[in-house]
């Protein structure tokens, strides 16, 4: 492990940013530890504080209180130019009046590297990003993907200990996005740097990250690996932001069962505030008869829509309490269910999870930012 890698641990403690005339803080008592070499994604809807947190780490904003440390150095009083973080911006922020070469050489020249050093390092990094031959082009003469690569080259050429990425793929179309996601993942593996990546796209977060911090209303709801968060989201917000969830608003019975809409469901293992039960759509089966496995829970539903998505079949339905639910089944083009049918939705109690309900009454979270 190199020196810069060891230095790459970021510790955020009790970070608050309160704007003068805002009712609630933009960032509200955030604690987050980012290990050296980790790919940490700050995920959340727009206005949840994720980009603000990144800007606090980068030094573009000053916190109202709290600390940000890099290794054993306190960063709060260090200006952005002295933090030596690479940063990739949403709209690339390439200097339009400079060539690709001059853009990438910019951080090296600010560090007073010799001309020979600059030339060697820039050419190496341009090679790595497949940009050899584009040295003398201006950013306007590049495609979106190429601009993105120049931005990545510029942000890593000076070997920063941490790379900050602010929704770097937001402006690209779906196909290019997928391709650059793979490139970013590969880059992370090769460089071994700490990556802090901001996105509102849960699939992107799941695909790229070692760890995800889910933001909601200026706070971090939960931090964990993608599988941890998906499998055991802990809160209703995380459950619905990372994937879809069928939500049951009931209560735990003395005997350990879960009482919901007048029905007794097996396996109510809720604890503390975690009063809502969720089941992921892929764990739900839908059939016309109630002939389900003996230990499973089954409730009657009314089918709203059946959609064939190629690799899977999606059934949307309404529960007895009026809320909507979804099941994702293996692709079944011959499925007999039709809109308006009454059917049975069933699932294993082992796939049930209990979560803390949203502070505001259960509302479908707006995923699009």
């Amino acid at each position: 492990m190199s020196e810069s890698q060891r230095q790459g641990r970021i510790e955020i403690r009790d970070l608050v940013l309160q704007y003068r005339n805002a009712a609630s803080p933009a960032v509200d008592s955030i604690d987050l530890t980012i290990e050296p070499g980790e790919f940490m994604t700050l995920l959340g809807p727009s206005g949840s504080g994720k980009t603000t947190t990144l800007n606090l780490i980068a030094g573009f904003l000053q916190p109202t209180s709290g600390t940000i440390r890099l290794g054993d150095r306190d960063l709060v009083s260090v200006p952005p130019s002295k933090r030596s973080f690479g940063m990739v911006f949403q709209d690339y922020a390439l200097f339009p009046h400079m060539t690709v070469f001059d853009n990438v050489a910019f951080p090296l020249r600010r560090r007073q590297r010799t001309r020979t050093d600059v030339r060697t390092l820039v050419n190496d990094v341009l090679d790595r990003f497949g940009l050899a031959g584009f040295e003398s082009r201006k950013p306007a003469e590049l495609s979106g993907g190429q601009r993105q690569r120049v931005a990545l080259a510029r942000a890593t050429v000076f070997e920063p200990s941490v790379l900050l990425l602010d929704e770097p793929l937001g402006a690209l179309d779906r196909k290019l996005r997928a391709q650059l996601q793979s490139e970013i993942k590969k880059l992370h593996r090769e460089l071994g740097l700490t990556f802090v990546f901001v996105t509102h796209d849960q699939d992107e977060a799941m695909f790229l990250s070692d760890k995800i911090a889910v933001f909601n209303k200026g706070r971090i709801e939960r931090v964990g690996s993608p599988t941890e968060l998906y499998d055991d989201p802990g809160t209703q917000f995380v459950a619905q932001f990372l994937g879809e969830a069928n939500v049951f608003d009931g209560s735990v019975e003395e005997g350990g069962d879960y009482l919901w809409n007048g029905e007794r469901l097996r396996g109510g293992a809720a604890s503390g505030d975690q009063s809502l039960m969720i089941v992921r759509p892929e764990n739900v089966r839908v059939s016309e008869q109630a002939d389900v496995a003996p230990e499973w829970n089954a409730v009657a539903v009314q089918v709203l829509d059946v959609s064939h998505l190629g690799s899977s079949t999606r059934v949307d339905f309404r529960f007895g309490d009026g809320t909507n639910g979804t099941a994702r089944l293996d692709a079944d083009p011959t499925i007999a269910l039709r809109s308006g049918d009454t059917a049975w939705a069933s699932w294993s109690p082992r796939s049930q999870r209990f979560v803390v309900p949203d502070r505001e009454p259960a509302a479908k979270v707006e995923v699009a930012a």
């Binding site: 933090r83 911006f89 949403q90 200097f95 009046h97 600010r110």
Partner: protein, 267 residues
């Protein structure tokens, strides 16, 4: 869309262009007249009015005074106007609009009022009839042109470029010098041209603040028409039209085609 010349719109465009440009075009043959009055067409050809312009100390001093005043007022207006624009750019919308209105007010207030105020004030300060007085008042008139041109340029400036420069290790000043300044330079150049032309051309304030050794070219031209109907003014005008046209053409073809922000818009 391509404009065809022989449509009603085309004819209107040609008419307006002719009306705007004709006086400037007629001045040129008149300045080479051999007659001693404003006659058109000229009775014969000579360069006597040009000779007069450069040999008569009154005209020569007026040209030099005007050049001196403009050459000092322009950089002053550039400095103040550019800094003010950068400051406005960082303010909230409300403050920005207020500040903008104040800085641009010399364009709205009748020049004669500014001239009277400057005259009364400078008289007390001992600046009336001095080059310094002229420079200060012309600077005040030129600032709006700089603020408008530079602010327009800053509107298209992407703030994340400054953030990027900072994150890459540039100090705030270096970020300004290497990124912001080159990108707003076309605005500064345009502002400089307008500032120079406006102060070189200004009559009313210069008229009130004139004094021995502080007579600008427009004042001299005004006097020559009012007092002696001297055709030297046609020679001066021809040179002014040529000089200003040259500068404006240079800016249009030299700067805008090399403009990185413009290119970005086309991509």
């Amino acid at each position: 869309m391509k404009l065809k010349p022989w449509t009603p719109l085309g004819i209107a465009v040609i008419l307006v262009s002719v009306l705007l440009a004709l006086p400037a075009v007629l001045i040129v043959p008149m300045s080479f007249s051999s007659g001693s009055t404003f006659q058109f067409p000229p009775p014969g050809w000579s360069t006597q009015w040009y000779e007069n312009l450069f040999s008569d100390p009154g005209w020569r001093d007026a040209v030099l005074t005007s050049l001196k005043v403009s050459a000092m007022a322009t950089p002053l207006a550039l400095l103040i106007g550019t800094l003010a624009s950068l400051g406005l750019f960082r303010m909230t919308q409300k403050l920005r609009l207020t500040g903008m209105a104040i800085l641009v007010s010399p364009l709205v207030i009748p020049n004669i009022l500014i001239a009277l105020a400057a005259y009364a004030f400078f008289l007390r300060m001992g600046l009336s009839g001095t080059i310094t007085g002229l420079v200060l008042s012309q600077t005040c008139l030129a600032i709006p042109f700089v603020v408008i041109a530079v602010s327009a340029r800053l509107q298209g400036y992407d703030r994340s470029l400054t953030a990027a420069a900072l994150s890459l290790g540039a100090s705030a000043f270096t970020a300004f010098r290497t990124v912001t300044l080159p990108l707003i330079t076309p605005g500064i150049v345009a502002g400089a041209v307008f500032a120079f032309v406006s102060s070189f051309d200004e009559l009313i304030i210069a008229l009130l603040l004139q004094g021995p050794g502080a007579v600008t070219l427009p004042v001299k031209m005004f006097d020559s028409v009012v007092e002696e109907a001297d055709p030297t003014i046609t020679a001066v005008s021809t040179l002014l039209v040529a000089a200003v046209s040259a500068v404006i053409l240079l800016v249009q073809f030299g700067w805008i085609s090399k403009d990185p922000q413009n290119k970005k818009g086309q991509a």
